[in-house]
């Protein structure tokens, strides 16, 4: 492993993207084989780098700015995760995206995203970091717009929201640069006070905006409907979470030293808690599987932000562990939804039902992932959520732990509803029996791998925690000094776990009640909450995009432009159009009358002109 391997890690997928774009549409198998081989090599390189864990490479780039790449425990871990998801999604896409009209663009954008993401993770200098980070904006737009005609609007929305967050991050970087005098990330370590606190908040917006926290999440549910489902599993579920939380952790641990109980810590925890609760409430009432999953993709970010925001070792470790766990089960869930869509042609909960008989493997994968996200013992989601609960309680603010538990209740309730309406219960009348088959193996393997990983990371949680998470937190001395997983009993028999289990039971109760009230229709299970007095009003407003900052911003700008148009532009235009033309035409009319074709007149003008000029010249000469 030479340091240039770091560069190849970035260049390999980038070149693959170009090659994939060039493969003609008519050639079969070449594109898929090339993509799979390239993803596999990336994964191998990531493993190899993970084994090395300590490399740096740098070269002169733009003038005095250096392209600095640095690999240590944390980026190595994220890199491994990214490469793994790249491989699984590529495998899945082989069948799922086969007939997409712009399939070569799809693969090119996926691999370009991977190259940029690898670059962003490895960058040890803000300039290349911003370069790679902003490049992801382009592929984000491109990938969403592959979804078809209407996807363009969502793509624009995603682009503008992410662009604003990135802009905030660049401002923050500018402040950090002026405070520390260097662009090299590993040389920076600031106390978040005064202007540095502002820089912290700005950079944090960039990080949590990428991860999709509230209120920067609103494009994700739209994209769930418009964009290809593989994109959802790839970008919002996996890549953006890993990148956003990675950067957030770097901001909190390296670039700034976040103190437990400080104002900024509380701010992060508030954002986390609000994201958990509000997004899960939205997820609960969705009638479309992909949209439901996308709201959970937002809600779960809240746990990660809450965990990191606690700034206590167990919380940070929990947040990071939750990040990787979430990427696994949420990717698995989106891929299962894609599998359902592939065979049943829809993800609308009202039209599905009883699919477990026809698609048993998909159903099994979905169930494991759904239980994992709901935090059911002994799956991975349980472990990381417990760690976040512990962290939140350790800060002494019990309210954040309560918010996290409320989130857990409704997460489970909504997945009971989703799983029940898609895979169990009665078969929908619209679907003829035997028409739907199980998806092909290339689509099932990624789902099963992810489901197995969920189980492994849950049952043998000490392994990932000590191998991946502990070294990361431990490398930051202040935060990781006394991290010892045995001190927090991460098993079933303690008070905190007891409360979590009680929450799950409550969620089950809510589901059964709603199911009975809705006339034994699973997709109506959330209706009692949907129509509860206070909630009904809020849901109505949310339905009208009342809380969507993007839509409100667009409305505001449209109003502003209308006012400017009617109030300023039109009056000015009237002055020119009515005033100037009228004066001009009148003057022209006068002049034309003078030109009546009489030769004598013309001669008279000429002679008159001569007299005037003689007089003028003589007066002026004196």
């Amino acid at each position: 492993m030479t340091p240039t391997t770091l560069l190849w890690m970035i260049l390999l997928p980038a070149f693959s993207a170009l090659a994939l774009l060039a493969v003609p549409k008519t050639v079969k198998y070449v594109r898929e084989s090339l993509a799979l081989v390239s993803a596999a090599v990336s994964l191998y390189l990531a493993f190899a780098l993970f084994a090395v864990k300590d490399l740096s490479w740098s070269a002169a780039w733009l003038g005095s700015i250096r392209l600095e790449l640095r690999l240590y425990q944390f980026p190595a871990f994220i890199l491994l995760g990214l490469a793994g998801f790249l491989f699984l999604i590529t495998l899945y896409s082989v069948v799922k995206m086969k007939d997409h009209p712009r399939v070569n663009e799809y693969y090119a954008y996926i691999f370009l995203s991977a190259a940029l993401a690898f670059g962003a993770v490895l960058s040890d200098n803000f300039v290349p970091l911003v370069f790679f980070w902003e490049g992801l904006l382009v592929t984000l737009y491109a990938l969403i717009s592959l979804g078809g005609k209407d996807a363009h609007r969502t793509a624009t929305k995603a682009f503008i929201i992410s662009g604003l967050c990135d802009f905030a991050m660049i401002l923050g970087i500018g402040i950090v640069w002026s405070l520390s005098g260097t662009m090299t990330i590993s040389e920076i370590g600031l106390k978040p006070e005064g202007p540095a606190a502002l820089a912290f908040v700005l950079m944090m917006i960039g990080a949590i905006g990428k991860a999709g926290a509230m209120p920067f999440h609103t494009w994700i549910p739209d994209a769930a409907v418009d964009a290809p489902v593989t994109f959802m599993a790839f970008m919002p579920a996996a890549f953006e979470k890993l990148l956003g939380i990675y950067l957030l952790a770097r901001i909190c641990l390296d670039i700034f030293h976040l103190e437990p109980g400080s104002g900024l810590s509380i701010l992060l925890m508030v954002i986390g808690a609000a994201t958990i609760v509000l997004a899960v409430m939205m997820a609960l009432v969705q009638k479309d599987l992909k949209r439901l999953l996308s709201y959970h993709a937002v809600s779960q970010v809240g746990y990660m932000i809450l965990g990191i925001g606690t700034a206590v070792p167990i919380g940070i470790a929990g947040g990071l562990f939750h990040m990787i766990n979430h990427a696994m089960y949420k990717s698995g869930l989106f891929l299962s939804a894609g599998s359902v869509e592939h065979r049943a042609g829809t993800t609308d909960l009202r039209k599905l039902g009883g699919l477990a008989r026809e698609m048993p493997v998909t159903a099994a994968g979905f169930t494991v992932c759904a239980l994992a996200i709901s935090g059911v013992w002994p799956l991975n989601g349980f472990v990381s959520k417990e760690m976040v609960f512990h962290g939140a309680l350790e800060t002494g603010s019990i309210i954040f732990a309560v918010a996290a538990w409320v989130g857990a209740i409704f997460t489970f309730a909504s997945f009971l509803k989703a799983g029940h309406s898609v895979f169990f219960g009665k078969r929908s009348e619209e679907r003829a029996p035997g028409k739907v088959k199980e998806s092909p193996w290339t689509m099932l393997v990624p789902i099963l791998v992810l489901a197995l990983l969920c189980i492994t990371f849950g049952v043998f949680n000490k392994l990932p925690l000590t191998q991946f998470i502990q070294p990361i937190v431990a490398s930051h001395a202040e935060a990781g000094a006394h991290l010892d997983f045995t001190s927090h009993a991460l098993d079933l028999f303690n008070l905190i776990a007891g409360i979590s289990v009680a929450c799950l039971l409550l969620a089950f109760g809510i589901h059964v009640y709603g199911f009975k009230r809705g006339g034994n229709k699973a997709y109506l299970a959330s209706e009692p909450i949907h129509h509860a007095p206070f909630f009904k009003q809020m849901y109505d407003w949310a339905e009208k995009r009342f809380f969507d900052i993007y839509e409100q911003g667009v409305k505001f700008l449209q109003g502003l432009s209308w006012v400017l148009f009617k109030g300023i532009d039109r009056p000015i235009d009237a002055v020119f159009e009515k005033g100037a033309t009228a004066v001009g035409s009148a003057f022209t009319g006068l002049l034309r009358k003078a030109h009546n074709g009489h030769y004598a007149n013309y001669l008279a003008w000429a002679l008159g002109g001569l007299v005037v000029i003689i007089a003028l010249v003589n007066v002026l000469l004196k």
Binding site: L591, H595, V617, L621
Partner: protein, 484 residues
């Protein structure tokens, strides 16, 4: 051999009617175009090399004896020669197709060459009497060419043109007589030297005013402009292009500039009068153009307005102002030539010059419409075309000399220019194609080729304006300031 510029076209025009007896079309086409192309190449290459050692003065010999006719070439003359041959060549190319239906092509080319010889002679003259002679040579040929179609309208226009032109010639002749009477000399330098000794400001002022009127009539400056909107539209399109593109500039603007600078040494009184005549012409003619429904009449009024810019620039008298004026002269010669040629294509295709009857012609005549748009944008001063740079230089020169009011007028008038050219575009080329024009065809090859050539020149001048400016315009302005 700068005498070639006068002698060759004259000689060929003498032979052409005879050639016309043998070959009605092909030989006259080839002969006329070859002569003009040859002279253009000579101006661009050989004559420039001649100038390297300073102005060239040539003595005409008759049977071995020196006669009292001398012609001279300097940077300014060369620049004008270049412009004349360039535009004339494009017009001759265009005439290959356009003049088919007028008949008697050989005679037409003969007259055109006489006019070119007259203009060439004018810019090579260095005494007042030669100026008068060549002025008349070019003018007489142009009377015949305006009347070339022999319709009632053409004859009336030619007659009006003749009558006002005669007044102009008379004024010029009286001016020359006054100067000759005072100084006893006719050469530019000799008269200038004589005037410096005499200190007879009053009489010199009257002579200057007579020149301003005479050449002002030729250049169609307001209030001496009234013949032009009748004469130019009536002529065949290529002749309109020569008249508007070249003749009014050579026999009007060039002569004024030469005499004002080299004979009168441009006193500030003359400078003021020139600038204000230019400014009034710009504004009044622009408004008049706005009210026209006849395409070629609109172009004719536009010529008056644009010549106003040239005179305004030269009238400033500073090196930059003069250069700007000359650059605008060049740009306007190209663009207005182009616009008249395209208007001829439209007239030939549709049979009308009335803008109100046209519409949507761009769909049927894309080349014509496109080149017309380029010419219009250049004259309106839209970057990066040539007209933008020359107007910009004039405006900068005005601001440098503190003439803010005139600078504002120049800027606002270019808005008017854009206004009426957009009216022309909208009525003739844009919009829905009228029913009766659905069978209209694009102009024939040579007509289109000539338009495209001019359009490319307009674009090229704009894009490489710095090169054009430094290699052609600046030497001309320097020569004008320095004298022979």
């Amino acid at each position: 051999m700068i005498f070639l510029y006068i002698g060759l076209p004259l000689a060929v025009s003498a032979v052409l009617p005879l050639v016309g007896k043998a070959s009605k079309r092909v030989l006259p086409d080839i002969l006329a175009n070859t002569v003009l192309a040859g002279l253009l190449v000579y101006a661009a290459t050989g004559a420039r090399a001649l100038l390297a050692q300073g102005p060239v003065i040539q003595q005409v010999r008759w049977l071995g004896e020196a006669v009292n006719i001398r012609i001279a070439l300097d940077g300014f003359s060369l620049f004008m020669l270049m412009t004349i041959q360039l535009v004339s060549l494009c017009i001759a190319l265009y005439s290959i197709n356009y003049m088919e239906h007028y008949g008697a092509k050989a005679n037409y080319y003969a007259l055109l060459l006489v006019m070119v010889a007259g203009m060439n002679g004018l810019v090579l003259s260095q005494d007042l009497f030669s100026v008068y002679i060549f002025l008349e040579v070019a003018a007489v040929a142009s009377y015949a060419l305006v009347a070339y179609g022999l319709g009632a309208e053409e004859l009336e226009a030619a007659f009006k043109y003749l009558m006002l032109s005669v007044v102009a010639s008379a004024a010029v002749l009286v001016g020359i007589a006054l100067l000759f009477g005072m100084t006893g000399a006719l050469g530019f330098d000799a008269v200038a030297a004589g005037l410096r000794l005499l200190e007879a400001k009053g009489v010199a002022g009257v002579a200057a005013a007579l020149f301003l009127m005479g050449f002002g009539l030729k250049a169609a400056l307001i209030p001496f402009h009234a013949w032009l909107p009748d004469a130019h539209p009536s002529a065949p399109a290529p002749i309109s292009a020569v008249l508007s593109g070249l003749l009014i500039k050579v026999s009007g603007v060039y002569a004024i500039a030469r005499i004002a600078f080299q004979v009168f040494d441009l006193p500030s009184a003359l400078s003021q009068v020139l600038m204000w005549m230019g400014a009034v012409s710009i504004v009044v003619a622009a408004f008049l153009a706005l009210g026209q429904a006849d395409m070629k009449r609109m172009l004719a009024y536009s010529s008056i307005s644009q010549v106003g810019y040239v005179v305004l620039g030269i009238g400033i008298g500073t090196p930059l102002g003069v250069a700007g004026g000359l650059f605008h002269l060049f740009n306007h010669a190209l663009a207005k030539g182009l616009l008249f040629l395209t208007s001829g294509s439209v007239q030939q295709a549709t049979g009308t010059r009335n803008l109100d009857e046209m519409g949507g012609l761009a769909k049927r005549m894309p080349w014509t419409a496109g080149t017309n748009l380029i010419g219009a944008l250049s004259i309106s001063g839209v970057p990066p075309l040539g007209g933008f740079w020359s107007k910009l230089i004039i405006i900068i020169a005005l601001i440098q000399t503190g003439e803010a009011a005139l600078a504002v007028i120049a800027v606002l008038a270019s808005v008017l220019t854009l206004w009426y050219y957009l009216i022309m575009q909208r009525k003739a080329f844009f919009g829905k194609l009228a029913e009766q024009w659905s069978k209209v065809k694009e102009a024939p090859f040579w007509m289109t080729a000539a338009s495209v050539l001019l359009a490319l020149l307009v674009i090229g001048t704009g894009l490489w304006f710095a090169t054009v400016f430094s290699s052609w315009i600046q030497p001309a302005a320097d020569a004008l300031a320095k004298g022979f």
